[in-house]
Amino acid sequence: MAYAYLFKYIIIGDTGVGKSCLLLQFTDKRFQPVHDLTIGVEFGARMITIDGKQIKLQIWDTAGQEAFRSITRSYYRGAAGALLVYDITRRETFNHLTTWLEDARQHSNSNMVIMLIGNKSDLDARREVKKEEGEVFAREHGLVFMETSAKLATNVEDAFINTAKEIYEKIQEGVFDITNEANGIKIGPQHSPNNPSLPAGPQGSSQGGGCC
């Protein structure tokens, strides 16, 4: 399908925080209460519209297990956005955020937009991590924060779309070098070369590879 941009996302976080469910909810709009462990990296895609432009989100859903860390690390590179997910009912998943963040920062390009997601907001009764704590953490680390529920689909769309918006803004600001596909952004085939919204500089050289 024709798209203006392709953004690559990665979802990271401890095992069982609901990464796969978030993805399933976003791409298929359904919730599966029993989900097999993710072995390796799974994959999902969906079209969204931002600012009247069709944007394809290509999302890598990684395994949270420590054992797969070496494999998932290789996916950090080439992602424009990351959803860092913890489970509000399990404090240790919140405590591990620092490790995840370091990992992400280390292996990704510096411009990657990271969104902090406190998932399972529907289980408020079993909450262990306060919303404020999440907000504080996000502020400290310069992240965007949001609590979601993959089960009830609350904020799931927003989480992905807000991230996309941020990336889009960064593109408009010229922060991202869209010619470098390692940044996780690809110009779609339909994108017209003399689109005024594109930064003028890198445009000429990028078209050779991107459009064929």
């Binding site: 029993v34 072995i39 390796g40 799974e42 297990q65 494999i71 290789s74 080439g78 690809k186």
Partner: protein, 964 residues
Amino acid sequence: MTFLEWRKFNFFDINSNVDKGNIKSALDDAQVRSMSSGNGQLVLGDSQGSIHLISRDFTVHTYKAYNIDVTHLIQSRHSSKLISIGNDEVGINPLIKVWDLSKPDRHDNPTCIRISRSVPQNRAVVVTCLAVCESSNLMAVGHQDGSIIVFRGEIGRDKGSKQKVLKDGNQPITGLAFRTQDKKTYLFVATLSNVQVYSIQAQDMKLYLTEKSFGGCTKRCSIMTESNDTQFVIAQDKAIYSLTIEGKGPCFVVDGTKEFLQCFRSHLVIVANDTASNIPHVRPGHVPGGHTVTVLDINNKFIVYSAMQAPVVGAVAEWGSLFLLSKDYNLHQLNEKDLQSKLSLLFKKNLYDIAIKIAKSNHYDKERLVDIFGQYGDHLYAKGDHYGAIKQYIKTIGRLEPSYVIRKFQDSQHIEKLTEYLAALHKAGSGLGQTTLLVEHTTLLLNCYTKLNHIDQLKHFLMTKDSEVDFDVNVAIKVCRQSSSEAALQLAEKHGKHAWYLKIQIEDHARYLEALQYIGKLPFSEAENSIKVYGKPLLDHIPHETCEFLKKLCTDYKPSNTPLPDLNHDTVERAQPDDFIHFFLDHSLVLVEFLEHIINYPSREKCSTQVYNTLIEHYLCLWSTTSDTTARETYVQKVMRLLSSDGIPYDKNQALLLCHSHKFSPGLLLIYKERKLYDLILSENISRKDYAGVLSCCRAYGSQNPILWQTAFHKLIKDPDVPGHYLSEVLHVIEKDKLVSPLFMLDALSTSSSVNVGLLRNYFLNVLGADSKATETEVSLAEKDTKDTEKLKSLVQQIQSKPVIFQGSRCSVCNETLELPSVHFLCQHSFHKHCFQSFSESDKECPACLPRNKDILDIIQSQEPNKTLNEDFHRELVKEGDPFGVVAKYLGLGIFNKLTLVTNGNPKRKIQSSQSPSTSKPQVKPLPSISKPANTNPFEEYDESKNPFGSSDNAYDESLNPFS
């Protein structure tokens, strides 16, 4: 690490040694270098340059293709072309040969239709891999030094083939694959360190690097899968990565050093080194140093087969099976189990979700899929996961009988799930047909909503279905009404169920005005029907508005929501006011207003009798209930106007009854008058003590109906309050017309307590005076009669005893002088004979006296006892209206008397009379009268006292009447 594997099943049956050693014997000592399959056969290339074609029945056909060896083979899937790379000469000198297997040569071997050299950049390099894209006529050959030659042109022909060399790095090419997508062809190139994707433009055969990825793979460890979203898959030690033309795809962690990959349907076949470290315990069938064959179902993400094998050198898919060639050149066939057995396997393990996945990916037909959902639902239900169960049951909608599910979730604790199911059932709704979705289901769902207090959902359910109503609106309304009548109301309004709307509005909400307005929007007939049903409550609560509406309805109704009157609407529908009258019970005032409006409406046709009757009734009703005199007066006027006006078809009897029951005298009198019921007028007046009215009535109608006076008298006389002058007037009239006998008067006087003698004095005086006067005249008349009788008697005597001198000189007929011959009678009449003869009817009697005599004779005759007289009397008595008159008449005829009438012998008299006229000669004519007996004279025996008619001129004395 095994705990992090996918779910593992065994969906394959392995058949060992299917070729019965054919391959081994064909190969002899040679080693298998390459393997391919397609077009109904397996192809092997060996280290001695021979190609072995293995057919379905595992017979091997071997031919020599190269002198030295066959390194690469690709059998075209659907054509008979076989592409091979091998060496004909010692050294590095790879040759591409294309064989057409359908054209055998003299030795029954396939013909070689093309031979090309694969030499990039003028230097022969070892060929590492080969890829062919038949649809685009592309062929790529990868080399040890990292260069790739891409040939374009028909594969089977040498001529016209273009070739292009691509070199990027010195790493040996380990994998090549073509991929066509969106009419573009991509080439995936795998090396030991990375994977690159090139886009190939067909025209100029330019290659663009579109994607470059980390990590590569070893030889044979890359494959293009055949699943829908075709991906290039490479195997590394830790995991298997997939790539698309857009870059990295998912990866699966599969441990072990991969030997090679193969693709079988949507499964990925991984042959890995069986490293002991992976296996915590020795599995059955474990062969040391052997290979692990794992078949992954990529779509559904589980392992469908995993087993230890003796070392495997190749794997190909053909004839719907997977063939593994072991190192000892035994061919093993892996047959995938049929779906049913797979599923039953899964069912046994209660892995329904996986079963569903598999069934779906195999395009299982809907009916059987539903069966699985049902089973899954049952399983979850049994496990107590009702929520999950209902989700499964929802998927069975349309196949599984809903009542089965409903029965399971009957408990009130499951109501939420039941609701969900029912909602889904309705959503599937209309497509299901009548038998599946029943009215009861709707009812149940609505009841559930209300029980759960999900009013919003209920409303949503009810309101959102605009186009197709897949539930019975009536039922829905009924149910909603019990819980949320607002919703029911909206529903009713939306679906135009006017009756329901009004019912709810009126009965539940008591919002009469809204109801009325709603009715006002309806078309005529519906409005009429609605108001007929709800008119009563509406009138009870908002009488005036309702009345206004009814007025409109009966005159010129238009639905209030049609803005412009329809000009062509020439036949105005009008309701009959009669239908609405009964609503107005207890609302006389409004009813009167309504009916007046209708009656006075100009262009309206005549109203029915009932309307007028009712109007009169309610006028009277109001008249009798209001105390305001002016209002009463107007009502009186109105009623009178109605009653007196002609051409109004009110029912007079009814009106009479009404007037009577309301004691409305003016009306009563009017009707009485019209009906000529004067006595009733009289009694009405008397009962109202309107004595002047009594008198005027008597005066007016007394002449036609004298009995009125009597009645008046009788009534008045009993009334102590009657003013004297009225009574006296009555008495006067009675007296004058002799309407009442004095005896009655006397009797009345005696019975009446109030009337004194003084009042009647005059009357009696007058009556008695008149009586005495009458007596006097009678007496004088009697005397006169006696005298006359005497006179007559003497006359008879005279005639009998004395001669009679006929001295008449003139004829009594012609009055001429009498001439002979003449006829003389004793009565002193004389006639000319010719005059007598011509004039007289009989010659015995005097024509002059005849009329008088005849009368007398008749009377006498009639007094003769007649044997039929009694019968006649009785007959007449029965027949006549006036028996008294009859009795009197017969009394006069002497029926009751012992009348002695002397019969004087008529024959004798006849003789006499025959004689007398025969006297032709005058003077000698005998005197017949002489011989006539005295008693023959009618006058002789006549007794006046016996003659009832004798005193007929006398005033009849009532007091003597024995019959009164």
